[in-house]
């Protein structure tokens, strides 16, 4: 899919900020940041206590870097990134992006353009509307199961539950808080969207599973930890 960008789109992209949580990503982070900087005005990398040179490399590639003094988890990193991004009053959109290079910057740019054209608060990337490259059958089945679970529990008609590529308009990003600091934040975002009744659309994205991203990714059984986190969080929120 090709998107044609108008002058307005370019202004919008200039005022969008990409937030990349990273943890020991030295081998890939430079390319990811550089690619993002070509399209977007700002890139914020949140270094979640990496032991390697990720922070220096990201800074050299043109990103603003915020370094957690200790490892706090991906959800916490995203929230830190959001706060940093929103400090600039000109920033209108915040894009969350994975550090391992599995997302495409073109998809991210198209999603921000879509958010602007359609006037929605949230745009969610979906692998199942777009393409999924290099994933095993078992991984696909697990992701589909996660989608079914998310649909049943949030009532959102989404096709992908755990895609790290998302666009939030400023008003939504300001209200976003991650109670669950670890990996359960992906589903948490969706339940916040459902509860706050934010307007959202899904946008097809291509996710490329490289050997690197597979090695860095979550283990499949972590899905059960996520279900547990969410169930507990739900019951507590209700009380």
């Amino acid at each position: 899919m090709t998107t044609t960008y108008t002058k307005e789109h370019c202004t919008v992209l200039e005022r969008a900020c990409v937030v990349i949580p990273m943890y020991d990503e030295a081998s890939v982070i430079s390319d990811v940041v550089r690619a993002a900087r070509e399209r977007f005005g700002r890139v914020v990398c949140v270094d979640d206590g990496s032991r390697d040179e990720s922070a220096t490399l990201a800074r050299a590639a043109g990103a603003e870097v915020v370094r957690h003094p200790v490892n706090l988890g991906q959800g916490a990193s995203l929230e830190t990134g959001l706060r940093r991004a929103l400090r600039d009053p000109l920033t209108r959109y915040v894009v969350t992006f994975d550090a391992d290079g599995q997302h495409s910057v073109e998809d991210a740019a198209a999603m921000v353009a879509a958010a602007n054209d359609l006037g929605v608060q949230v745009v969610l990337g979906s692998r199942f509307l777009g393409g999924i490259e290099g994933a095993s059958g078992h991984r696909k089945a697990l992701l589909k199961m996660a989608v079914r679970f998310t649909r049943a529990t949030t009532g959102l008609k989404v096709t992908d539950a755990h895609n790290g590529l998302r666009v939030f308009r400023r008003d939504a990003a300001e209200k976003l808080r991650f109670r669950l600091h670890g990996m359960s934040h992906a589903s948490e975002v969706l339940s916040v969207i459902a509860r706050q009744q934010w307007s959202y659309v899904e946008h097809p994205t291509t996710v490329t599973y490289t050997e690197y991203s597979k090695a860095k990714g979550q283990r499949g059984y972590n899905a059960f930890n996520i279900v547990f986190d969410l169930a507990l969080n739900r019951v507590r929120a209700a009380s």
């Binding site: 870097v65 706090l72 916490a76 940093r84």
Partner: protein, 117 residues
């Protein structure tokens, strides 16, 4: 049997604590009085071992030792859950602190570079 009622009630209370655990002043009072009660009962049990067996028989348990084991299990569960809640609360604070520090440091770094440029 009375003991079944007591144990089910104890376990249900543990589940309730797990789900809605908020640390309140009432909770603190309960924890303190329970600890005090446990110490007093412990001393009584040590001085008069026969009392434990009589208490066990009264609630439908054969031996005093069994009653002590049951009580220990339920108490352990409560303590574990309470500790977990406490840790979660501490972690929230740590995250917030670390985040503030990280954001400040980033700002400082930025200013230094603007100054030197």
């Amino acid at each position: 049997m009375i003991i079944k009622l007591l144990l089910v009630a104890g376990l249900a209370a543990a589940a309730f604590l797990l789900l809605r655990g908020k640390r309140t002043a009432l909770g603190l009072l309960m924890r303190r009085s329970l600890t005090l009660g446990a110490i007093l009962l412990g001393i009584l049990g040590v001085l008069f071992p026969g009392l434990v067996t009589r208490a066990a028989n009264a609630v439908g348990v054969g031996r005093g030792t069994d009653l002590v084991v049951y009580a220990l299990c339920v108490t352990f569960l409560f303590v574990t859950i309470a500790q977990n809640l406490r840790l979660a609360e501490l972690r929230d604070r740590t995250v917030e602190l670390a985040r503030k520090q990280a954001l400040l440091e980033a700002e400082l770094h930025e200013r230094e570079h603007q100054g030197s440029a």
